[in-house]
Symmetry: C2
Subunit: 377 residues, 2 copies
């Protein structure tokens, strides 16, 4: 086994999930994430945790949903509300580790949107119980993900481990600057002015919200490995935004998404590709038309877009917004933010002709932050 | 996908587990049982059940146990009693389907016996909760199992599907004869007299016990697919028995096991190969030295030994005994039989120079039953 697989497992268990002896850990192993599953199980055994392994197979999920469609004989399947077993799992678990890495990123492409939405809606309680654990999502560098990224397998392995096996403590210190600016601010404005694309000019309120220094550890309210972003929960968005980084939503390739916000809500939308998938997201529930997240990518170890949100949204010189659910960590105690069954991130490249301002003061220009060398105020 | 995989899934879900709409089904998918997992998920979706998939990987189990050994620094690991997550899963589940078929039947060979025993002991409650579900164990015909059987992969697929895709209703009727004899009987005696092997002469009481017509369905208290045996829970065994069918116990090849019983308990044992593995089983707990099962193989669709207990013990012309736990279905209501953390089956070929008698009357001679053509009384 590649020694980096073991290092990945150790970062995940110790830095990210902070697993203690006696904790109950649920590990979901995707179809081709077996080697990482083995390394994680070994680390958990050594630390005296218990482990339960789920099989996180997209092909199994697809088969179940297609079977349900067949059973519904043309109608939309009626799914059991919050399967008792799945609910019991996450209510009993202390930690949930999701090891992504299937065999085909388009494995569920032929499942009806209505079926998918009905299934997502029926599992709200399961999702909430899962998010109440110390959960962390990561991926094993599989051939399928390499293909999605347009990279050779070994090249992709290097890319993934470069992004994951980092000095997380140092990055956390650096990201603390950005968190401070967002915590102190009331309004964020993002502007891009390019010859080759429509303008972005979006304002949103962040007053009273707390930014998360997402340093790939539950100790920082951060649940992705890799991470390297600072995010908060905006509201009352007004204006237009273009997401020019291509991505895959619901197994559909989506490019150049344009959203128009009024009073915090999407009132118009378009996409050069994948507009149906976007429409499907927006239709899920009322919260799917409102923002749940503003994130600023700060992981300069990620050097290219790979059509994987886990990596793309963390890349330096990008900002992203998510439609749907807001994370509790960004909200005042006891206050609920935007609620939705979905959380769909979309990304803008801000490396050129771009500014992000907080309360009228420029924080990032053309990708360079105020506290970095070369910043032009 | 081979159409027989779908047929296997349908027999499992409909005939074996009798899954009803709304039931909560937990499916454990072994490393190479993916295709069967997909077919089972589709069938469950169609029938309106919920599904939770566990990853039943021996390599993950081994890694966890080896990690625990490393954490114990030379001592025997101290495992958490009945992991809360695993207990919650089986307490919430209505049905448990185990799809075997890993990549290496010796995957856990280098785990210390003490570690294994400690882990088994710590999971008694989980095991009991699992056995309280409508559980069924089956296998997908993997290359690893083909190798274990000494067969080519396609040849092995034919073997497995011939054993599984049967007229179970017809076999159930045939096996009802044997059940009647055992239910009415008080004592079973098995005798073999061969030139090339030590004699078997074993008597055991079955008074008050109920035999199970194991027709591969929970409706018959039968939990294996394939099945095709009639079994009961004997006690007070006296005498000697030779198990001449080779098998694998705890990843160890075991051959020609000889057990001597006095007062129901093993007082002496030997094996031509794998004696240590046998000793390890016997040491697990007091119940491991007593019988939990007498089974009579009646599936004549299984035409050879393949070093897999799931198939070997069902083969016609064999009887088997298990050390350890007795099945509740064989016991009077509220009465407990032999209790143990283990249940280890061992098989004798009774095709020649052999008789099985119940209350002094011969029921099977040289493999032929009293009600079959060619029986010599």
């Amino acid at each position: 086994m590649d020694e980096r697989v073991r290092e990945h497992a150790e970062v995940l268990v110790d830095w990210s999930a902070r697993v203690d002896p006696g904790e109950h850990v649920v590990v979901s192993v995707a179809e081709d994430a077996h080697d990482l599953g083995v390394a994680v199980a070994e680390a958990l055994g050594e630390r005296g945790a218990t482990v339960t392994t789920l099989y996180g197979s997209d092909e199994v999920s697809r088969a179940y949903l297609k079977g349900a469609e067949a059973g519904a004989e043309g109608g939309t399947p009626d799914f059991d509300e919050d399967s008792a077993v799945d609910l019991a799992i996450f209510e009993a678990a202390d930690v949930y580790l999701r090891l992504g890495g299937g065999r085909n990123t388009a494995a569920t492409a032929d499942v009806d949107r209505e079926t998918r939405q009905a299934y997502t809606r029926a599992r709200k309680g399961v999702r909430e119980a899962r998010m109440d654990t110390d959960w962390v999502s990561t991926v094993h560098p599989t051939r399928s993900l390499a293909q999605q990224a347009g990279m050779a397998h070994e090249e992709y392995e290097d890319f993934v481990y470069d992004a994951i096996l980092r000095d997380w403590e140092a990055l956390a210190e650096e990201m603390a600057h950005m968190k401070e600016v967002l915590d102190d601010g009331d309004e964020v404005r993002i502007v891009t002015e390019r010859a080759d694309a429509p303008d972005t000019d979006l304002r949103m309120s962040i007053a009273g919200r707390t930014a998360v220094n997402s340093a790939a550890s539950v100790a920082y309210d951060s649940h992705n490995l890799p991470s390297g972003e600072v995010f908060t929960a905006p509201y009352d968005a007004e204006g237009e935004v273009l997401f020019d980084v291509p991505m895959t939503i619901e197994s559909t390739r989506v490019r150049n998404v344009r959203l128009v916000f009024e009073g915090g809500e999407v009132v118009d939308f378009a996409a050069e590709a994948g507009e149906d998938a976007l429409a499907s997201v927006l239709e899920t529930d009322p919260g799917a038309s409102r923002l749940g997240e503003l994130g600023i990518g700060m992981n300069r170890g990620i050097d290219r877009f790979t059509d994987s949100i886990l990596f793309d949204e963390k890349m330096g010189d990008t900002v992203h917004l998510a439609l749907g659910r807001a994370y509790d960590a960004c909200l005042p105690d006891g206050e609920s933010g935007n609620e939705s069954a979905v959380h769909v991130d979309m990304i803008s490249d801000v490396s050129a002709e771009s500014t992000m301002s907080v309360d009228g003061e420029v924080v990032q220009r053309d990708g360079t932050f105020r506290w970095e060398d070369g910043f032009e105020g």
